[in-house]
Amino acid sequence: MNKVGIVSYGSYIPKYRISVEEIAHIWGEDATELKNQLQVPKKSVLGLDEDVVTMAVESARNAVNLWDGDPKLIGAIYVGSESHPYAVKPTATIVSEALPTGKEIMAADLEFACKAGTAGMQMCFGLVKSDMINYGLAIGSDDSQAKPSDPLEYTAAAGSAAILIGREGIIAELEGTYSVTSDTPDFWRREGATYPSHGQRFTGKPAYFQHSIDATKGMMNQLQTNPSDYDYVVFHQPNTKFPLSVAKMLGFTKEQVELSLVCRHIGNTYSASSMLGLNRILEKASSGERILMTSYGSGAGSDSFSFMVTDKIEELQAYPFDIEYYIKRTIDINYGLYTRYKGLLK
């Protein structure tokens, strides 16, 4: 069988941050209580001249620069997001031209709430494995929206992650992937609506937890692996508490999940969330280590992946614009500026 895996990865997080205190102050909420609950002290916010496209391009360029290959060899680009700037006019076309790839390329924008990026990864794995393309680029990029004063306002953040998939120069080989899907109305946004709605507590147990658990168990069952066979595990991160809880329910330790928790620094980046967690692990992992990743998208579904890190990983770990770089470069803004940056003033 053909080997297939990750050959490079790139991340992007905007520079602006707003703290839980700053938001809680506006709505008269208890910031300390919220921080204990969510374990997200601040979240990333887009600059005035940024959107899902610009973030996708930055993460994709980081992936291509780190790889140091010819972007013309990329045969497919899929961009997952629930906040594409155009309702009609694909983000993927702009990313393609900004790399630039060749014109002979498959491309599409995907939507599946927070798991549209990992759906793109699966498409690329399939296309590479079946020899239809040499390399495929899957991107998760989101500038998530939250209604002012909604609980989601404390965590809805912005960021992008790009994963380059191929069969040559693999740094993390795909061992298997497994998905679950069900019609679950936990979180939605109707066409033309500015903000998403959600089923409050319903978003937890039957939605996030059930799907993440089913996909992860299915993945491990398929490969006959156990939690202890993995060095790192990544889950979708709507806040920091959920991935820690689901890890515990499945029998993973806090240590296995901790490195992936980018949410702790920047909040929930939706389609980019689990992929940024994976990128952070790829930045630190060593040859022979095993990674399990499970995304979650409302609506609902989960994609689980098992990866084995190869000895090529070290060649792709010394890169100046890694997640640490983006986490550290920050400009704190107050709620007034936040309303301007998020376009809340109509």
Binding site: L48, D49, V53, T54, P85, I94, E97, P100
Partner: protein, 129 residues
């Protein structure tokens, strides 16, 4: 914002393309059919260096309609590491924190938006490293 103009200029704006002259060897920006130094049309496309340093900068508060969304903004002349000088916005920074000689890198950003229903124009800007 006319679609044909956006479409024609996209590569130059996305990729920061200039020309390299096959006759006199000089490189220049922007993209042109002729070398501004020797006048030959024997030129090839050249992608500018992605990093450089600030030579001069100013603050722009009176912006055109399409760019008002992001005003006030800093505008600078950047000397790229390949020696070419270009004008561009310097973003994600305060005017008072900018200094001549500061190192910058090229980033992909929104240059202009045509209202809420029109096209979005993307291209390169600069940010401190």
């Amino acid at each position: 914002m006319e679609p044909p103009k956006i479409w024609r200029e996209k590569r130059q704006r996305y990729l920061a393309l200039g020309i390299s002259c096959k006759k006199c060897g000089k490189r220049s920006f922007p993209l042109s059919e002729y070398c501004p130094y020797c006048g030959t049309n024997d030129v090839e496309e050249y992608r500018l260096a992605e990093t450089g340093k600030i030579l001069y900068f100013t603050n722009v508060s009176m912006a055109s309609n399409e760019m008002a969304f992001n005003a006030p903004y800093c505008l600078g002349i950047i000397e790229l590491n390949d020696g070419i000088k270009v004008t561009g916005q310097i973003i994600d920074c305060d005017y008072k924190d900018l200094k001549n000689g500061m190192e910058v890198k090229m980033v992909f950003r929104i240059l202009a938006r045509d209202g809420h229903e029109g096209l979005i124009k993307y291209g390169f800007k600069f940010t401190s490293i």
